[in-house]
Amino acid sequence: MMVRLADGDRSAFDGAYALLWPALLAFCKRTLVSSDAEDAAQLALLKVFDRASTFLRGKDALTWAITIAAWEVRTIRRRHSRSRSTPIEGDEHVSPAQDPERIATDHELVEAAQAILGSLSPDDRATLASTFAEETPAGVSGAAFRKRRERAMTRLKEAWRRIHGN
């Protein structure tokens, strides 16, 4: 549908809109609180249609749109982190840890990460844990561990795409 739209076929617009809007909104809702998610999804949707004429045949349209949405999510998160890092006079008693928005975001992120890690095999989880701890398990050569890590990362990315990309 995006290929037709890129080619100038306006009749594909309604179909593309109907498919993209819920997908982008769902993606943004998984990573941001509801009001921010809607902002990010709207901005992403507008950018997707703004750049629709540059969409290349052979690319996956949903992945392309989700990538644009991911950038919007990142921008909103950065904006929030910048505004949080600026000290506000007279607001010294509020602890950043008690910020309900941040708690909710952190909670959602932890849940998302747990869901994805939970879908991996115990071996992959162990490999990723060792990678995170920057240690090589005993009895495993460096080259073998690198190979295992690469496979685990590939499966992690696939799982992320499967859960958050659809």
């Binding site: 739209l5 100038g8 809109y17 709207q42 949707l45 507008l46 703004d50 750049r51 004429s53 540059t54």
Partner: protein, 181 residues
């Protein structure tokens, strides 16, 4: 951002059209560059630049519209270089001679260049799902491209070029007729 669904859809549609227009404006710039180069070569600014602006506007419109007419712009511009170069060469050779022989050389060069361009465009068009639309779009662009170099030679070479490019319509029409249900 409390935009309701309809407004969001309208904005998305508007941005889609603006995005297409922006792309078309950018991708058509080579037409202006080509016209400027020809103006430098023939040392005459008004006619090549005026036709270059017309070609630019046509290219923007076709690219913005898209589909088969939009796909015809690139082959039209590329194959239009054949009559353009032929006209420029004839322009130099022809003006070395005088009178009717100059006119003959110029007309023959424009006709020959146009015929080659028309047949090349027809070759591309018959492979497209909508050959007639692609041919008409590409032929118009090729004609305007060729005219940038040929217009300063007068009306007959330009008419010759138009007729020769239009001759490419014959194979397209034959092919369409053969494949008609």
């Amino acid at each position: 951002m409390g935009t309701d669904a309809d407004t969001l859809k309208q904005r998305a549609r508007r941005l889609y059209e603006l995005g297409r227009l922006r792309g078309a404006l950018g991708w058509s710039i080579p037409a202006l560059i080509l016209a400027a180069l020809v103006a430098l070569v023939v040392r005459q600014a008004s006619i090549p630049l005026a036709i270059g602006v017309t070609l630019y506007a046509a290219s923007v419109g076709l690219l913005w519209w898209g589909r088969a007419p939009g796909r015809g712009v690139l082959p039209g511009l590329v194959f239009g270089l054949v009559p353009l170069v032929a006209a420029l060469v004839a322009n130099f050779l022809g003006h070395a001679s005088t009178g009717s022989s100059c006119l003959q050389i110029c007309t023959f060069a424009c006709f020959g260049g146009g015929l080659v361009a028309g047949l090349l465009i027809a070759r591309v068009a018959v492979r497209s799902p909508n050959p007639l639309a692609l041919f008409l779009s590409a032929a118009s662009v090729a004609f305007l491209t060729g005219v940038i170099g040929g217009a300063c030679m007068g009306v007959y070479p330009v008419i010759g070029m138009a007729v020769a490019i239009a001759a490419g319509l014959l194979p397209v029409a034959l092919r369409s007729r053969l494949h008609a249900p």
